[in-house]
Amino acid sequence: MNRDLRFTALKKTPFHSRTSLASRTNKYYNWNGFTVPTEYSTTELEYTAARNGTSVMDLTPMCKYMINGSDANKFVDYLVTRDLSQMEDNTVAYIIWCNEDGKVMDDGTIFKFSNTKFMLCCAVKIYNWLHDSAEGFDVSFEDATDTTAALAIQGPTSCSTLKNYGADDLELLKPFGMKQYNINGYDVLISRTGFTGDLGYELWTDPANAENMWDSIMEAGKELKIRPFGMHALEMTRIEAGFIQTNTDFMAAEDSLRPVRMRSPYEIGMGWLVHLNKESYFVGKRALKKEKETGNSERCLVGLDIDGDKPAVGSVIYNEKKEDIGIVTAAMWSPTMKRNVALASLKRPYGIKIKENIFAEIYHPEELEYRKIWAKCKVVKRQFFSPERRNKVPADLYE
């Protein structure tokens, strides 16, 4: 029976025929209107692939926008807080952008092809925001979310896998570099970027090439411990890497129902991406400058190293007087580091000036009862795990 084509359902990505075939658990979730696997077999094994071999993740649901026009360079610099005026062609930069109140709307990566052509990749839809912000710029936008298929290929053997696939000299690509290839008759853009905090790449191509690309990469990685990788495993690797996730670690300004939930870059550990000395104006500059000068940021987002081995998921954080000083936004037991880590949003001065005598109240489920654990926490660098191989050039090869 054929369904009417107008019948609305969650979309399938161009890799769906392959991801659904690879899935043994049939566990899916809704990511930005697409159906994608949460888990293929076992999250622990998928996680290990990213730290041991090659992990493959369907990234297609990420929002992707092409920014073209003679003012594209100027526009991008106006949109984001980071100074991109010196950004080189064929490189990628990690960025955040704010609204005029200096509250963070989202983070993402910007790909520069030339002064007149960029690609923006992010979590929250901003097609309208781009248009609204573009007044006075000679620039046009194309939503490439549905027209670009994307895969993340991450892990220690990922470079070798992709070389087998046909990406010659890929080991020479620097972190945040990107290179255009033609493989099996299709254009494939490869960037040395990712969300796992490890050696890894992201591949961008025409949806028509998706199935061929998936099959070829799986074949190329056959002897290199390749494995498809779902959302749950990604969540583990990104926490270890200390990467923040919009609407998990902070609320996107435009999505916040409650105005008090909006956060400035300084309140989510992204102050380093705000270049107030950037010559030109950028959205939110006035408010951010004021916040920086008055120092009235209210929160901070920190890494916590927590005693014991019970993950502090959703825990409330207290000071020694048992006053509520914040909340855990993401937590896990790290299989690689054998550490109990978490990201937490704290009320200043906790996390900035006061880093000692902080406690997490953990409710650990034990066969229909909860054990209440009062665990001591240490404020640490958010980037928990960053192996040397992550930034090595040339990248590690397994031959």
């Binding site: 107008r6 019948f7 609305t8 930005n32 309208n128 008090v260």
Partner: protein
Amino acid sequence: MAKNTHDVIVIGAGHNGLTAASYMAKAGLDVVVLEKNEWIGGAAVSRELYPGWKYSNCSYVCSLLRPEIMRDLELYKYGLQIIPYEGSATMMRNGDYYAHYHDHDMTINSIRRHSHKDAEAYERYSRDVLRQCKIIKPLLKMTPPDLTSFKPKDLFGALEFAKHFAAKDELGGLGEKEIYDTIRFYTMSIRDYLDEYFESDITKAHLAGSAIIGTALGPCSPGSAYVLLHHYMGEVDGSVGAWGYSRGGMGSITKAMTGCLNAHGGEVKPDNEVVNVITKNGRAIGVATKKGDEYYAKKIVSNLDVKRTFLKITEESSLPGEFVERVKNFKIRGSSGKLNIALDGLPEFPCIPEGDPGGGGDMHFTETIEEMEGAYDDWKRGEWSRNPYVDMCIPSKSDPTMAAPGKHYMSVFIQYVPFNLANGGWNEERKQEFGRHIVDCIAEFSPNFKDLINHYEVRTPLELDNEVGLTEGNIFQGELTMDQLMFNRPVPGYAQYRTPLKNMYMCSSSTHPGGGVMGAPGANAAREVLIDMNIPQTGNYY
């Protein structure tokens, strides 16, 4: 002539009267509800006018009924079950359709078929409207303070009202921007409001529907944006803005309330129309019925709209002149009609793909706001809309109790229909002409629709006035505009459910927070009566 004495008499067995009665009976009072019709329910009623088919004759969907009331009155015990909608759709003359679903992302994907920008704007729009809903929600169960009074109760009340307006508890405090937004929202037209978010006609037309249902405002009239909020502030189990069917029709709601009332010793007496409120020295002491019986009570609570209460059954001489003048000026204009249709099978709507959940809830065929305003223009001239806005649904798709398996009941709400029809007013012939016109309009979108019709009931504002007792057929018992909301509802100085007559109260939708099958006016009024009687109470409305 029988003479009966009770603690409380409630006039009218609609959902607010029954809510008030149940709360008071639960608090231990001896309550009797007098109803003019032979059946119970007011505008929340299910009647079988054609054998085998149950209609929701007036109101037809449920969202606004406050969950606290369902909980306090334990309505589930007396058979109440709400079935959530699957989706909604607007059919287009080019054969396409526009749909909303339970799932937010599916809705976004659906809107994107019509406009990329609108799909994203919908996220911002839903957040902003939800924020307004959160602001208004705590106000629903409060008695509006009298802003001119210096009684401690009113001073604290005003403070409490203002505090909730800034919604400290729900939203963690609003900034300047959000307060400006709220004030704009309450006073704008829905067209202007939607223009700030959307570009495509179909998106705007679909969303604007909620802003005109039941009101005598057009989509370009200032104040229509609030009407949208009024339809959005309901919920089905925390899903704000969601609508559902009441299993067994809307009559199940009033039936369940009657069940609660009976369980607490109260009684409803149908076929007992109150024609006069008996007063003595500026106090209401009882009522007289058409049958000639007299009932006496310590408190009288009227669930009739404010015009019927004070211009029909109360002696004008017992009321202050200025109050009567205000009541006369209260805007209560009928603008809606209805068709209830017994269908021999499921009508096909080729615009909507088979099995698409968009067809599971309300369906429409108005494609632009201009069409909607055109429909309103007809009403202003005293005519029914030639190209009406309809809100139609087939509850039997989800509810197995409305018709036999395979048979269907369809409810069609029609906007706009005048109370005073030009050129001679309503008569049976013109009523049937109106019914046929609506059937023709629907048949344009459904080839087999006409063949399936076994029977239909046509309701004009005149029937709603005569039979249900809604003055001029206004379903909200008074227009929902700022001049008639909160401390202005129904008239300034009398927004606290009390009236110029001692011992007489109002609990109808003419009072705060207004119309819709919400129950909040009834619950709020019961609280005020109990406070005046020094009777301790429990529950969510205390």
